[in-house]
Subunit: 240 residues, 2 copies
DNA sequence: ATTTGTGAAGGGTTTCACAGCG
DNA sequence: CGCTGTGAAACCCTTCACAAAT
């Protein structure tokens, strides 16, 4: 699914795109382990809690360097640091969120942002009635101030949580004032220059993919009327 | 990201997982085209608006059958129907949403659900103060009634929009009462039987992936001090 | 004895380029 | 002539299995 230009990506960074997508999962599991006092973990154990195979985990980590000890495993804290560094989380990024509806509220209140070096620099909305509202300690500004806010806070990441109808226009403005990464929640395909990264989160698409698999399960069940609850069915766990 | 068991999947359905993930995008573009009165579209044009290459688009569609006309293109309405059928959207699915915080509200109000054959059968929350609240014409029920509601509405898809701490327990209960597909918004890796499909949407992970690419851009820029705004940079558009 | 790190094999996916059809 | 549909090549990713290290 994922990507475009994974080859070009790897040429520079050495880390395959598929690996990059899993590192944050490892990081989360490792952080939890560290908090529970665990100091060392094997690839087998870490892989199990992260929901992947141990060979895949080791290959992923091998792209960062040789940070394990044979016969022992990985030092939890050290791995946390190395993964953070590889992902660029030792730097801080300012994020601007455009659109403060239910979804924007959810994003503004999401604790996971701050804990990983992401600072919500500004909340912006087109509706004058929302301007001035306080969300999680942040003021809502008017869309007119978008350019000023982006430059003032040197925001490099923009989050689009607007209706689909305004998403492209907001995106264009973000890109025009220097944003180079966009996380898009609007159900629309954004057009951006090649120098800008876009990732999209699309609820409707996720549901449709699930529907596809549901359909297959149902078809399989009726093919074999004898087994009301088939005990060997393929299960699929998919990363977003 | 993507998948597990794509091989097993394809054995039954004939459609590769990577293709399944893109079909909903094509469907959305085609629906918009149909509404704007377009009756025919070429792979080139459709691919451009969907943000993919035309060869990829044609190969994707070829997995559904030969529904184009050489020298002409694809009939928009017919393609809409064929993709809908392939995805299983001609059936209707009942969805139960657990957790009615900001995110749950956003999901309950999302129009894209109903328009694709997904019916929100019930909203559920653990907080008694939310019970009885009316969201988008739907009552919020208490978590205690989860099993009853799932069975009553024959829901096969569950959406988890709870805090991470309760997500696994909610998931277990959903699976126990017959839900076979789960869309998880909680930042945690869910453990499920092989017969259950899980897809996850994780805001923090998306941001971390963007951070990785931001870091690379910054590194590239300092490597070549002469070019303040490099004009040939890799741009990456990634499907979620 | 145990667990990492990794070549090599095996699939899956994308891209190319063109044959085939309208 | 134009555009689809598709073998074949290229590429990426995963899995296997084991040598190397502690």
């Amino acid at each position: 699914m994922p990507a475009t230009n994974a080859a070009a990506s790897r040429r520079r960074s050495g880390i395959p795109e598929a690996t990059v997508a899993r590192l944050p999962v490892y990081l989360r599991v490792l952080t939890a382990l560290a908090e529970s006092g665990t100091t060392t973990v094997s690839s087998e154990a870490l892989a199990a809690t992260a929901g992947v195979g141990s060979a895949k985990l080791r290959k992923d980590l091998s792209h960062l360097g040789s940070y394990g000890t044979r016969g022992v495993g990985y030092d939890v804290e050290y791995l946390v640091y190395q993964i953070s560094r590889a992902l660029g989380l030792t730097q801080h990024y300012s994020v601007v969120i455009v659109g403060v509806g239910n979804l924007g509220h959810a994003l503004a209140n999401y604790a996971g942002f701050a804990t990983r070096g992401f600072r919500i620099a500004a909340l912006v909305d087109a509706d004058p009635r929302r301007v001035g509202e306080d969300i999680n300690g942040l003021d809502v500004h008017h869309l007119d101030d978008l350019e000023r806010l982006v430059k003032e806070h040197e925001a490099s990441i923009g989050v689009i949580a607007t209706p689909a109808t305004s998403a492209q226009e907001v995106c264009d403005r973000l890109v025009a004032c220097g944003v180079t990464s966009v996380l898009n929640f609007a159900p629309i395909v954004l057009a951006v220059p090649d120098s800008v990264d876009v990732r999209k989160v699309d609820l409707s698409i996720e549901l449709q993919i699930l529907a596809f698999h549901e359909q297959r399960k149902a078809a399989g069940a009726t093919e074999r009327p004898g087994s009301a609850v088939p005990d060997v069915v393929r299960g699929t766990v998919v990363a977003s």
